[in-house]
Symmetry: C2
Subunit: 321 residues, 2 copies
């Protein structure tokens, strides 16, 4: 009997799962990242999170077939190095090797967007659909695409940087990356909050005010309570995402677009606006070819993805033999 371990390494929490060989999750553990404590402390917590999902079942190190990690930022997948990641204390950090010192098994580190896509591909409701897109909308916007059963990587592994695709010509809305008019600056949680701040500064009426901190959750609550400005700002953001998805449908002609991340958890209001806008902009043949849906893994998307990274590593090694 063999097991898989998946580690979803985020800026806020480390979400780790033990899974059966099939990918079915058996144990889960969430620890705070506490990134400010530095790389050694975070690494120790990663190791501890693995021990805490493995020990309750009395599983020995030899029974772990592979460990998969999903991490934000720029990853060297081949060497298992986190090259750089906002909100994590790792810089050119050989995470795979560091984990292997304690657990001498195959360890694969993957970008969290790619991991989430692999989760949908191996374990999701539209399993093994070969032309698949995953987009996460939370603080930022990220994602990944599968083309004909293979991750879309591009020449330098930089493909599908969807958060930094230009969306609005001649925009004066600054993106976190320093350029203007990118998808993330309109569609993300940060983008939505800033749009509301701009509207309030310009004197528009709302039940929210600049005195009290707010995020997408509060804006959504205000919209539900009848605040017209909140509703309009959310609808604008969801429309922009619909247009972005239309661009993806037009270039990639996928069968499924799966949406995850905190902002997508708004649910029906989000999905309906995204779909109606995508339909309005897209050639009917391409729009009708694709199902646009919410991820069914919700807050487990990251850890399911990390398990899928481990699962794929096991499959690759088996087929290489």
């Amino acid at each position: 009997m063999g097991y898989l371990v998946g580690i979803d390494l985020g800026g806020t929490k480390i979400h780790t799962a033990l899974a059966a060989k099939s990918g079915e999750i058996l144990e889960e553990r969430v620890l705070p990242t506490l990134a400010e404590e530095g790389e050694v402390a975070v690494l120790q917590r990663i190791i501890r999170s693995v021990q805490e999902v493995v020990l309750p079942r009395g599983i020995s190190r030899e029974e772990i077939l592979a460990i998969g990690v999903g991490a934000p930022g720029l990853i060297d997948q081949r060497e298992g190095i986190i090259r750089t990641a906002a909100n994590l204390p790792f810089e050119e950090f050989p995470l795979a090797k560091a984990i292997q010192k304690v657990f001498p098994v195959p360890v694969k580190v993957e970008n969290d967007g790619n991991a989430a896509l692999l989760g949908e591909y191996h374990l999701g409701e539209r399993k093994f659909t070969k032309n698949l897109v995953y987009i996460t909308v939370s603080t930022g916007v990220g994602g990944a695409a599968m083309v004909d059963g293979k991750l879309l990587l591009g020449a330098g592994g930089g493909a599908f940087e969807i958060g930094h695709m230009p969306l609005v010509p001649d925009s004066n809305v600054l993106c976190g990356c320093g350029q203007y008019g990118h998808v993330e600056s309109y569609v993300s949680g940060t983008g939505i909050r800033k749009a509301m701040e701009r509207a309030l500064v310009s004197g528009e009426n709302s039940s929210l005010s600049l005195e009290t901190p707010f995020g997408t959750r509060e804006i959504h609550q205000a919209a539900l309570s009848g605040d017209a400005l909140s509703k309009s700002i959310l609808e604008d953001a969801f429309s922009y995402l619909g247009m972005t998805i239309s661009q993806v449908l037009t270039l990639l002609n996928p069968e499924v677009v799966i949406l995850g991340g905190g902002v997508s958890s708004i649910g029906d209001m989000f999905l309906e606006k995204v779909k109606s806008t995508a339909e309005q902009y897209t050639l009917p043949l391409l729009y009708n070819a694709a199902e646009i849906r919410l991820s069914s893994f919700k807050e487990r998307t990251g850890v399911v993805g990390a398990v899928a990274v481990a699962l794929e590593e096991v499959q690759k090694r088996a087929s290489a033999k």
Copy 2:
């Protein structure tokens, strides 16, 4: 000794070439399409064009290894059927079979955008670059992409419909397809002409006038002669193309973007504006990874592509043996 034949089937002309097995073009012939004479007449002219490149060299039918066709519109590549094509009298027309009645050799029909890309891939200056994009800007805007050495087709073969990718949010500029704000309605020869017409109707000053018909060529001439409106309209269109290319760089991370078609033949002024805008909108890592360049085949792009379609067919059959 074996030969290849390539047929670039356009709405205006049929451009046919005889090539050596290497793809080197030996003979060329251009006949008018005269689409209005109907499918039988056009088919006869296609056949005649092949005979006219083959006969001067005394080549027998048995020496033709394959015939490749590049055609606009929706193509069923597997069956060699033109399903529908604007400006051609073919509707669900089994072109491969019809040609094979006269030349009983492998005949492969490919979409003209895909064909042009294959021309660059097999016979171009950046031969065998595996992540490659080709965009043609003429009356319309089309193209194709190669991802990791394979044509990007998508779930239903509809991928890379770049002319119909939405570009401008909430646009009131109508595209030929019936939707609004698509790339083609801003960037193509038709889009440029219509932008000039709108500007003249709204009373802007120009050396061009609504009384005399004009196209991209005349607008370019006027710009060269100092007409500010013409210059600004061209620059707007080229900027929009730069933004489109930025979107492609961001999603696909290609190594080369090759630009062809009549509008691109404007040359330096075109390429410089496209590149500077793409640079302005794109993550530096992705912009710097890609060379943006003009096709070196110019008005031969179509026929070189058709020859490459034949070449690839021969290679596929050889490797299948």
